[in-house]
Symmetry: C2
Subunit: 745 residues, 2 copies
């Protein structure tokens, strides 16, 4: 088929010969027998290939991948994690179904582990100093997979070691307000142990907020109200349902930032400069330990003191009190204390990313990057192996077409299996630090599929506006699993939707935080990114996340029996991602619709006008320049769209299209400003940086306003508001300039 | 000619039609009748066009341009400066000889001026408080051009106003060591006025160093020894020779940084956030005033105190003493003091850049940027009008070919006339801040011709290694002015040369500091840059710079009679620049030889090993990773060179060449790290940032080492050395990755 295209263009034999040489040198892997398309030929998305790929992404193989990947625990840098590195290399180097090349990139990174000799313990200590009760050190072995040396004891990664002991208090989510509330209730927090529940704030924040009030140690548990829709008895939980068993404990990283803690902005290669531990910031300040809700019940339901506020109550089957200490009529004598003994240690470990590439036939220097992390806390069947099972099936189907010689994409496709994500997106961050410029100049988009399936109800996509259109095009063409004959798009819109001024009712994309490996790509490199998964029907569950998240109960059987029997949701995600990869790598014109940024900018602007306009006026700060900048962007984005559709009707020259595609690809970069938020490590994207302010507008403006709010006009804080406003205006004006015809001044 | 190329490619009529539409839309200016080359046709450098351009760059027109440009003083933001903006716009919009489009971009920037009502004065005040002697307030009107309201009084731009009075001391160049020397000589500096001479350190540094010792005011003069080869009498100086008359005073900016002082990193558009004056850093701390050497003689030759060191002596015809105060047997009573009254003020003024563009026919989104500033201190015939005269002739010759329809370059050529350079590269810096991303993504190289001719002896080029080869190719083909039948290259090599391990004896390029508008392009944007001029035979003069630099004697007659009679050196610079512009904009393969960076890296590495190796070893810091990184770069650069020559032998596809050219163009970017030197404003290039350390190696390493030298191992200073080493290693590894075949992992 490619051949006829080439001949159709009427290129002479000489030209083909020349092309042969070029391809021989650049595009064709040794011993590959793929056809040599004209480099100039407008090779475009091939719908037949798309059909084939969709057809070959079958659920059964994904299921088999998952069985293999989740057979054993594969904590970052563990022997099994290393085995999986080898498995990926072997799959990606397979002569029948592999990629053009694959390689492992290893970094030496700082991880945190509990002691094997001296397990972390949480005890209740009586007045005489003897232990009158101990919390469980491990999860109950209900399916035979929760035991064994490779199941790491529940712990709070990067929490310091120490053995604080004190009266217990209950601090709800452990937010700043929660501790303030305890203070106003007149509770002396100095030297206490604070029992908190997951949710509300980040893991590490609970300890940070607690320490500010002199709290000596922190316990964190998952309340059945937050994860199990209130259910808590063994008969109601896994293996009898998808709900978390009473002994289940959520592990996790308690580090504030992402990337290797010792090498910010530098790749963690052995020779790199490493911070002195004394200079590392972002670790929890006090010993912290997570526990299961059966242990939490013993502690919480015996607390003394006043009743906790209604919003603090949970589903442990008792009235939650604030403490301090236990009630006289409870299981423990009133003056008993809680001892939290944490023996975590930091260790430099080798962790590898595995990268595999399919060389582009026409534009090998344009990368469509698709990735997921490989490391888990225990078996990690859902997190992250559901995504890796999809990754392996996708690469296998595309690799097979490649090796058969029936297909080679226009642009390069890079598959990535990241290491040590659970400890703080470490593998992906080090990768972006090592190849910063190359990736920034050449990456078309980054696609992340971590947890492929949270539940079976609907697709859920987070991403930046330019990727919306390609996600829509892909999902409209794929049948949704489950009842009815809906497309994934039509099913999706029933669960997540918004009314777009441009398109009417459409599925709504979420925005990208820092929950998975897309973070360094969007925030640090400014690459258009997306995260794809299948997820819940929120009318059926209020679970914070799938119940066995980061526990030893996240196993293959859990997925196979409860999460996605038949793996049709896995298949739906694989097809969606596969279609997006093909559209991004094979389309002549990049399917990145930059004008879809206009809606975001408009809504940010309107929020600023409505919620900050009056305040800013009081301090004689005008939003006028921001209005002008947004309007300029809208106009330029629309005009570029016009030029593209005009070109598409003609028979455009490949070089001409390359120039336009560069404008589309590089737009996201124009929103980066490494000097905008110097204190926010890696966050350089002026539209998607962390927003602490309450107004849904440009983060720098919102955050600066909430800091300045209570200061006088002319304060440094108000100057910072003006600086942030100018930073956004400059970014938007720069973005508009990037979209303008390239030879306009 | 282009047509046969197109047909030669055998494209069908349909394709041509398509191309017509595209070109109509993108490449062809309205009403232009240039041929429509195939966008894909490997349009390459056309030697006939090159010959034509070389021939049409005649000296006479450059002379006429200079006469017009230097007719009147054109200080930044003055009415005449605005007139010249209009002149440039009119020339560049000329239907017969203009460019495709031209536009003025105006910024609101903070400039500094002396008061018109209250001129700055330097008086000698007797014990009774009456003025017994006054220095000249203006330069002597020897040619009729040194008078009139538009000749701005000599002053130190950005020096604060104030009227300090005290005993006079002589402080040589006003370096830190100079003031330390005065201290060791037991001279009380508190409250004194320090007389310093130009040279040794930056203008502003003299006041900074002085203030540290309690000095109240600073005078700066140009010693005849430093500028006039010792000559100082009216009969020996202009208008009788090229030397500086006794009343001549060098004006200049005393601001430490570059760019608009109120808007660092933001374009100085009206709406931009501006620093509060209290938060502006980099202005001289104490009143400062420049004077001529005839006034300096009156002061210096009457000084009391011990004899100044030999190296401090000059050519004023007396023995320089240190002071404090005047000698009893001199012209002024011993207890007389010097009063320095400075009445400078800061003012927000509009200053414009003028941009003109020739749209590229094939790759309009690749910019060859050529610029010079427009503003002068007085008439500025040499600085900057010699460069602007060349700029106007170059743009006229190319514009004429364009309008005739005989030529259109493959890539876009952008001409720039920068505003307010004399106050601190302000116009060019604001431009790079406003269009940061667009310029960084698309600019092939920046060529600066500020002072085109310092003298007639030889070419002098400063630039980064990738531009060396194109400068050599250009200069080998152009006849040098003056006796003999040498090429510019062969003449150049007689004055500046080095022995290259690769090429043997070659002309040596200087490295780029921050002396003109190239600074923001190389240091802030990482764009390969060069600065071109004709300059001295150092065996004939030791002048710091051409004698009338920044004075009212830098006039057309000065150039016409002494600096370049016949304007053949101007023509040589115009031809060199013109050839370089054509080669960069028309060559199919970009003539940027990245492998020429290998020599630089090697020499930096060797310097580090020889001069720092032992010291680093003592503190157990290894240069091993740096050695590896340099070797890796050398290998990848050589391999890329190989691939290019292979391709050149074949009939390469335009898209294929574009990909290689992108690697060549973007290499320089990979040396940028905005987080490497946070305290050095704009300096992000890890190879060319300011080097304070004495070792000619990587600046970050050198500077960190000189700071750490006297501290103990394990100090923060030594940690910074290791951090800087890792920053360089990461940059070099990243650069090597950029040069690797694009589809290699």
């Amino acid at each position: 088929m490619q051949w006829t295209k080439v001949l159709g263009l009427g290129l002479g034999a000489a030209a083909l010969l020349g092309l042969g040489i070029i391809l021989g040198h650049f595009a064709i892997p040794k011993k590959a027998n793929s056809p040599a398309p004209s480099i100039s030929a407008p090779q475009d998305l091939d719908l037949e290939i798309l059909e084939t790929v969709m057809g070959q992404l079958d659920a059964h193989r994904i299921r088999e991948n998952l069985r293999e990947l989740s057979r054993e625990p594969h904590l970052a840098s563990s022997p099994r994690d290393e085995d999986l590195v080898q498995l990926l290399l072997q799959r990606w180097k397979d002569p029948e179904s592999g990629l053009d090349s694959a390689e492992a990139f290893t970094y030496e990174v700082l991880l945190s582990f509990p002691s094997q000799e001296q397990p972390n313990v949480v005890d209740i200590v009586g007045p005489t100093g003897d232990i009158i009760h101990s919390c469980h050190r491990t999860e109950e072995n209900v399916t035979g997979e929760q035991g064994g040396p490779d199941v790491i004891q529940p712990y709070a990664a990067y929490a310091p070691s120490g053995t604080p002991q004190g009266l217990l208090v209950y601090a709800n989510h452990g937010t700043e307000d929660d501790f303030k509330e305890l203070q106003t209730q007149g509770i002396k927090l100095e030297g206490t142990i604070a029992l908190t529940r997951y949710g509300g704030v980040g893991r590490g924040d609970k300890a940070v907020n607690a320490a500010k009030h002199g709290v000596a140690g922190v316990l964190v548990y998952t309340d059945p109200a937050d994860i199990n829709d209130g259910l808590s008895s063994p008969s109601e939980t896994f293996p009898n349902s998808w709900y978390l068993p009473p002994s289940g404990v959520e592990r996790g990283s308690y580090y504030k930032y992402f990337g290797d803690p010792l090498t910010p902005y530098l790749p963690a290669i052995p020779s790199s400069f490493r911070l002195d531990l004394a200079n590392v910031s972002g670790f929890p300040p006090i010993p912290t330990q997570p526990i299961g809700f059966q242990d939490a019940r013993d502690l919480l339901c015996n607390l003394n003191g006043t009743l906790a506020p209604d919003t603090w109550q949970g589903a442990l089957g008792c009235h939650y009190r604030l403490g301090p200490g236990f009630r006289p009529d409870g299981n423990f004598s009133a003056d008993s204390q809680v001892n939290v003994s944490v023996y975590n240690h930091l260790e430099l470990r080798n962790s590898s990313n595995v990268l595999g590439i399919i060389r582009g036939a026409v534009e090998p220097d344009r990368y469509v990057l698709y990735g997921n992390h490989r490391d888990s806390w225990v078996h990690g069947a859902v997190d992250p192996s559901s995504g890796t099972a999809v990754l392996l099936q996708l690469s296998r189907v595309l690799g097979t077409l490649l090796k058969k010689g029936t297909w080679r994409p226009r642009r390069s496709i890079v598959f990535a299996s990241w290491g040590a994500e659970e400890f703080g997106l470490i593998g992906s961050t080090e990768f972006t630090e090592e190849f910063f410029n190359k990736l920034q100049e050449r990456t078309v988009a980054y696609i992340n599929v971590d947890i492929a399936v949270f539940a079976n109800a609907t697709l859920r996509v987070q991403g930046t506006p330019p990727v919306q259109s390609v996600v829509f095009s892909a999902t409209k063409e794929i049948r949704s699993p489950g009842p009815g004959d809906l497309s994934i798009y039509d099913n999706w819109i029933r669960y997540f939707n918004r009314s777009s001024p441009v398109y009417g009712l459409v599925p709504s994309l979420g925005s990208l935080g820092a929950g998975s490996d897309y973070a360094p790509f969007i925030h640090f490199l400014g690459i258009s990114s997306m995260d794809i998964a299948y997820t819940y029907d929120r009318s059926k569950t209020s679970a914070r996340i799938y119940p066995t998240y980061h526990t030893a109960f996240d196993t293959f059987d859990y997925v196979d029996k409860f999460l996605d029997p038949g793996f049709s949701s896995h298949q739906a995600v694989a097809r969606t991602a596969g279609s997006i990869i093909l559209r991004l790598s094979d389309s002549f014109f990049l399917p990145l619709k930059v004008s879809d940024y206009s809606e975001t900018l408009r809504s940010f602007l309107q929020a600023a006008q409505q919620d900050l306009g009056a305040l800013l006026e009081q301090h004689s700060i005008s939003l006028g320049p921001l209005v002008t900048a947004v309007e300029k962007f809208e106009a330029e984005a629309a005009a570029l769209g016009q030029r593209i559709s005009t070109l598409q009707k003609s028979s455009p020259d490949p070089l001409q299209v390359r120039m336009l595609n560069d404008q589309l690809m590089l737009l996201e970069r124009s929103f980066l400003n490494p000097r905008a938020f110097p204190e926010e490590r890696y966050y350089s994207h002026v539209l998607w940086a962390t927003r602490t302010g309450s107004v849904a507008t440009f983060p720098g403006l919102s955050n600066a306003c909430s800091r300045a709010r209570d200061t006088a006009s002319g304060s440094e804080a108000w100057a910072e508001v003006q600086r942030q406003l100018s930073i956004v205006v400059t970014a938007l004006e720069g973005a508009a300039a990037t979209l303008r015809p390239v030879a306009d001044l």
